[in-house]
């Protein structure tokens, strides 16, 4: 028995001793990464010393740890995809990737990962890459603390920052993405996490999410993206503690939800968006403890949505708190704070004694005739608005908050 243990220890130590480290440097013995990759074996480490390396496309099909020392640059010379990884347990860290090729048929990326597992991409910088990090058919991987920046001018010249297609168990944490087509793109991605990322100034969406079930994203910031964030055709997604700010434009949304089921939108902040949340075909989803401030529309609830619950949200300084396009209301709206509420609280329990109707009469008219927004805030509109409040004709009778809160909620105190 002892001999077996001894032997196995010996084998393990030998195996570890086998793991070698290669250094790539302009002055050293190995001057290109391609050479180092060719020499290396599974489990080896390659360290790249500072310098600019122009090597075209480097294909990695072994379990390697590739580390940059002092942020070496891999240059794609506007022609190539830089890394193509097809292996298990590969780590890429501390490298700067610049200027990949741009192609309309092939999605060229700085790092493309295909059919792989256990990949770690950390602390890298990406500048003017077409696609930054591209994962397809990959599982159990980590994308962390990378910075991705693209010029973001002509939308056909830029791809997505972090692009995932058919992946599972991926964590995307603390990345900073700017100026891409979609900051983070998810299609057919399940059981994954998107946390603490900052996605700003992307041409289309800060986050784009399709057919991706059982995912969670929290504490991300989505700022000034062309059309905000889109989450579509998905069930069971949790969106918690995110910030959706300043997404302005004729078709911009803080958050666009389309065909979503059994999901949760909690503790998010929507500030200065044309439309805070747009809901279309959304069912059985809870919206709680969100803050809507200074939006054009805080919530635009299309009649195709049902069984959703709006509870304990703060609505303040929005032009319209809620808009809808139908008269049938199948959603519950209860216990929210509305700064436009003018009711009273005689028994002093903190809950208004008369219901609040968040759908403004004029919002209904604008829904039908968009150009009518020109007359908004005119004296005449104010008059008919008052009349409508007394005797509702246009606004849906049942769309009301029967127990509006008299005071705004303090979520910072309750959540932390």
């Amino acid at each position: 028995m002892k001999i077996i243990v001894f032997c196995s220890v010996l084998v393990f130590t030998l195996a570890y001793a086998e793991a070698r480290t290669y250094r790539v440097s302009k002055q050293g013995k190995i001057t290109t990464l391609k050479e180092a990759v060719a020499l290396s074996d599974h489990g080896d480490t390659i360290i790249i010393e500072p310098g600019i390396y122009k090597e075209g496309n480097v294909i990695i099909e072994k379990s390697l740890t590739i580390l940059g020392n002092g942020l070496p640059t891999m240059d794609g010379e506007h022609k190539y995809e830089i890394f193509t990884i097809h292996a298990t347990n590969v780590t890429v860290s501390g490298i700067r990737f610049i200027d990949t090729g741009v192609a309309n048929i092939n999605d060229l990326a700085a790092i493309k990962i295909l059919d792989s597992k256990g990949i770690k991409i950390q602390h890298n910088k990406f500048e003017n890459t077409f696609f930054g990090i591209y994962l397809a058919n990959t599982t159990s991987s980590l994308i962390e603390k990378n910075t991705l920046y693209s010029h973001g001018i002509a939308e056909n010249q830029i791809g997505n920052g972090i692009h995932l297609w058919k992946c599972e168990n991926i964590t995307i944490n603390k990345n900073n993405i700017k100026g891409h087509r979609d900051g983070i793109y998810f299609e057919f991605v399940t059981n994954s996490l998107i946390t603490n990322n900052h996605s700003e100034g992307n041409v289309r969406y800060g986050l784009h999410f399709m057919f991706s079930h059982n995912d969670e994203y929290y504490n991300n910031t989505f700022l000034r993206n062309g059309a905000g964030v889109a989450v579509m055709y998905t069930k069971n997604v949790k969106m918690i503690g995110n910030t959706f700010d300043e997404n302005w434009g004729s078709s911009a949304y803080g958050l666009l939800l389309k065909d979503i089921r059994d999901s949760e939108v909690t503790n998010n902040t929507f500030f200065k968006n044309t439309i805070g949340i747009h809901l279309e075909g959304v069912s059985r989803t809870n919206f709680t403890e969100n803050t809507f401030t200074e939006n054009g529309y805080a919530v635009r609830l299309q009649a195709s949505s049902d069984d959703n619950v709006f509870n304990r949200n703060n609505f303040s300084a929005n032009t319209f708190d809620m808009a809808t396009n139908g008269s049938l209301v199948l959603n519950q709206i209860n216990g929210n704070y509305w700064d436009k509420y003018q009711g009273y609280d005689l028994n002093k329990d903190g809950i208004g004694d008369v219901p609040f109707r968040p759908v403004n009469m004029y919002a209904m008219i604008v829904e039908r005739i968009p150009a009518a927004i020109l007359l908004w805030r005119s004296f005449f509109v104010l008059l008919i608005d008052r009349a409508e409040k007394a005797i509702p004709v246009v606004t849906p009778e049942d769309l009301k908050d029967s127990s509006p809160s008299m005071k705004p909620y303090d979520f910072a105190a309750t959540s932390k």
Binding site: N156, R181, F188, M210, A227, K258
Partner: protein, 141 residues
């Protein structure tokens, strides 16, 4: 007389049910609300009255077909984007279609349209060639 001719001219222009190019990066898909981005994909319907509906992928067009009570006879033009000639709208009835899991279309239809037959991509993608009528059967029902 001249103002009259001019007015008639305007009137005729106003009535023409002509296709409109898809403005990528600006236009929204009428069905899925996504901003159009990928110039290799897209579709457009123009009604006889001249109303234009734009789509980012072919399945969005069929979803729209299913969702409205407008009958197919009311459309003047049904157009699709040629995969190999980005942004070019071609007549859907005459187009060749390839369906394959290799086709990364915006709404995952997996269908690319072509003005001319493309045997190279058919073999590369191991794609199924389809006609418009066959597509209608697959997506329309």
């Amino acid at each position: 007389m001249k103002p009259f001719v001019f007015a008639l001219f305007l009137f005729l222009i106003g009535c023409a049910a002509e296709p409109e190019p898809l403005a990528y990066g600006k236009d929204q898909c009428h069905a899925c609300k996504m901003t159009l981005m990928d110039r290799k994909f897209g579709a457009e319907l123009v009604t006889k009255k001249g109303k234009v509906y734009k789509f980012d992928d072919i399945n969005c067009l069929f979803n729209f077909y299913k969702g409205t009570d407008v009958s197919k006879e009311d459309y003047q033009h049904t157009l699709v984007i040629d995969f190999s000639q980005p942004e070019k709208l071609i007549d859907a009835q005459k187009a060749y279609f390839l369906k394959s899991s290799e086709v990364m279309s915006p709404m995952a239809s997996g269908v690319a349209a072509f003005e001319f037959q493309n045997s190279e991509l058919t073999t590369n993608w191991q794609a199924t060639p389809l006609t418009w009528q066959e597509l209608e059967k697959q997506f329309g029902e």
